[in-house]
Symmetry: C2
Subunit: 310 residues, 2 copies
C-alpha cells in the first residue's frame, strides 16, 4: 500500500492527513497557523506535522506531500497571499528540502475542487464554488487542475458583478465577493436590522450580540419575511456567480461548498431556478448542481492527490 | 498540396475560402445568407459555394469543410441561434451528405479565435473578445478550441456585469453585452446627445442623421470632452470584461477583435491601464493584449482548420 500526505494550509489552522492509495484517511492532525510567525516557522510546522503523522499512523513512509495554500500559486511558490501576507514564497521547495519528500503545491480552492472531483468519481469537468467569508473557486478539467498560463487562473471572486457597486475587501467595487459571500450577507443583514429595529432579526441580534449567516438562514427557514428577502437576494447573487461559471466553463457538475451547505434544502430549489433562468444555453442540458460532501476534508484529500492531477 | 474549405456563416453573408495546408488563401467567395429562407436553402448554398470555389480555384478537391456558425454549437449541430432562428439544426451532417466531404462545425467566435491563434503561431492559450453589435468570445487552450461538457461554453456576453443594470437584447438586465458592445456605446451616446443638444456629438448626429461608433471614437480622438467621457467609460467596460477573462482563464494572450480595432492607438493604452488596475494577480506577469490582425478572415481560416483543432 502506498501513502500520501495532504496539507490544507489555512489562515487559522494547518490541517493535515495521511491518505492511502484508495483515498482512505489513515491519520489526521492539525496545528495553529499563527501566520504572524512568518514563512520559515510555517514550513517547519508542516514538515513536523507530516513526520508526526507518519509516526502516529505507524506506516513506513509517504510517497509525496501535497499542500493547498491560499492565494495565487505557481510552480511550487505562493506568488502572493493576502491572508498569509506572503509574496513569492517557495513553499514546495522548502518543505521538500526539509522532508526529503517530493512536494506539490496548489491553490487551496483548487485542492478542494480536486477532493470533491475525486469523491464524485467522475471524469467530466467539475467546478467548485465555496461561499464563505469570501468566494473561493476551483476547476478540474480533463482530469487535471485547470491551470492558466501566467499565475494559474480560476479566480472568480473579484470579477465585476455590479459595476459601481459595494466596496470589496480587495479595494475594488462591485466584485462577486462583495455580493455572494457571507460577509456580504452580513453587511446587508446588519443594514436591514438598522432600518428595522423591531424586526425578528433585530431581536435575534440583540439577544446574541451579533448576527451570523446560520441565524439568518434559520430565520428564513422559520418563515421570517425580512430574513427570507435577505437570503433570497443572497441566493440570487450566488446563482448569478454560478451562471457566469456555467456560461464560460460549461462544467458537467458545479459543487457548492462552505457553510451554506447546511441550508441545502432551503436554498437549492431557489438557486436552481435562478440559474436555469439566467444561463445562456440550456438546449443541451445544464450542469448538475450539488453541495460539497467532504467539507474541510476536500482540501486535504485534493492536496494529498496533487501528484496525479497537476 | 492539401486544400481545405472554410465557411463563415453570418447573419448577412455566407463567406467562404479555400485554404492550402500552409494557410494560404487560394480563393474567396461569398453569397447573401437571407436566413429567412430557412435551413435547407442555406445548407444548399454552402455546398454550392464550396463546389464553385473548387472549380474557380482549379484545384482537384478539398480534404474537408469547416463551418463557423453563430449560436451554441455541439456535435455538428447548431443547438440554437437567435440570429439564424435555428434550433437543433444538424448543419455539419447535412453539408457532409450533400458534398460527400468530412464536415466540421464550431461556433463562429471560436473559429475566429482559432484563426487568430494560428496567425499568432503560438502554443499558449489565446482568448478572443470581439466588440461589435454584441460581445463575442472564443478560447483556445492546449492547442484546441476550449469545449465545455454540455453545450460547449466560452460564452461571455451574458455574464452579469451590473446587477440590476441596463436591459440586454437577451431579455436579462446588466449583461456584459449591455455595456461592452457598440450597441451599448450608441445607447449611451444617444442619451448624451439628448441631454446635450449643443454638444459636438449632437451636431455630428444632426449632420449625419445617426451616430455610429467610428464617429464617436473620431470625436474623442479629436479631443471632444463629451466623446472622450463616453469612449473612456466604454473602454473601462471592455477592460473589465477582459479582466473577468484573465481572472478565470488566465490566457497568455488576449486578442480584441471587431470595429474597435481601428482605434487601437487611442483605446489600447487606456484599456491596458484599466486591466492592470483590476486583474486579481499580476505577480507572475499578465496576459499580453493586442488587436486582431485577420479581420473577417479569422473566422474563415479557423473554420478551414477545424479538422486539426476540435
Amino acid at each position: 500500500m502506498k501513502y500520501y500526505a495532504g496539507i490544507d494550509l489555512g489562515g487559522t489552522n494547518i490541517a493535515g492527513a495521511i491518505i492511502d492509495e484508495n483515498n482512505k484517511f489513515i491519520c489526521h492532525k492539525s496545528v495553529k497557523t499563527l501566520s504572524e510567525r512568518g514563512f520559515d516557522a510555517i514550513v517547519n510546522d508542516i514538515a513536523t506535522l507530516v513526520s508526526n503523522m507518519i509516526i502516529e499512523s505507524g506506516i513506513a513512509d509517504v510517497e509525496s506531500i501535497g499542500i493547498g495554500s491560499p492565494g495565487a500559486v505557481k510552480d511550487g511558490s505562493v506568488l502572493f497571499s493576502g491572508n498569509l501576507k506572503w509574496r513569492n514564497a517557495p513553499l514546495a521547495d522548502m518543505v521538500q528540502e526539509l522532508t526529503g519528500k517530493q512536494t506539490y503545491l496548489a491553490n487551496d480552492a483548487n485542492c478542494a475542487a480536486l477532493g470533491e472531483y475525486i469523491a464524485n468519481k467522475t471524469d467530466k469537468s467539475v467546478a467548485l464554488i465555496t461561499i464563505g467569508t469570501g468566494v473561493g473557486f476551483g476547476f478540474i478539467k480533463d482530469n487535471k487542475i485547470f491551470a492558466g498560463d501566467t499565475y494559474g487562473g480560476a479566480e472568480l471572486g473579484h470579477q465585476m458583478f455590479k459595476f459601481g457597486g459595494e466596496r470589496c475587501t480587495c479595494g475594488k467595487n462591485g466584485c462577486i465577493e462583495a455580493y455572494a459571500s457571507f460577509s456580504a450577507l452580513l453587511r446587508d443583514a446588519n443594514r436591514y436590522v438598522e432600518k428595522n429595529k423591531k424586526s425578528y432579526l433585530a431581536s435575534i441580534k440583540k439577544q446574541a450580540g451579533i448576527l451570523d449567516g446560520e441565524m439568518i438562514f434559520a430565520a428564513a427557514i422559520a418563515g421570517d419575511i425580512g430574513a427570507k428577502d435577505l437570503t433570497n437576494q443572497f441566493i440570487e447573487y450566488i446563482a448569478l456567480a454560478i451562471t457566469s461559471i456555467i456560461d464560460v466553463l460549461d462544467p458537467a457538475l458545479v459543487i457548492i461548498g462552505g457553510g451554506i451547505c447546511k441550508s441545502e434544502h432551503y436554498f437549492m430549489p431557489i438557486l436552481k431556478e435562478y440559474v436555469a433562468k439566467n444561463v445562456f444555453c440550456t438546449d443541451a442540458g445544464i450542469a448538475q448542481i450539488k453541495v460539497a460532501t467532504l467539507g474541510n476534508f476536500a482540501g486535504i484529500l485534493g492536496a494529498a492527490k496533487l501528484h496525479q492531477y497537476i
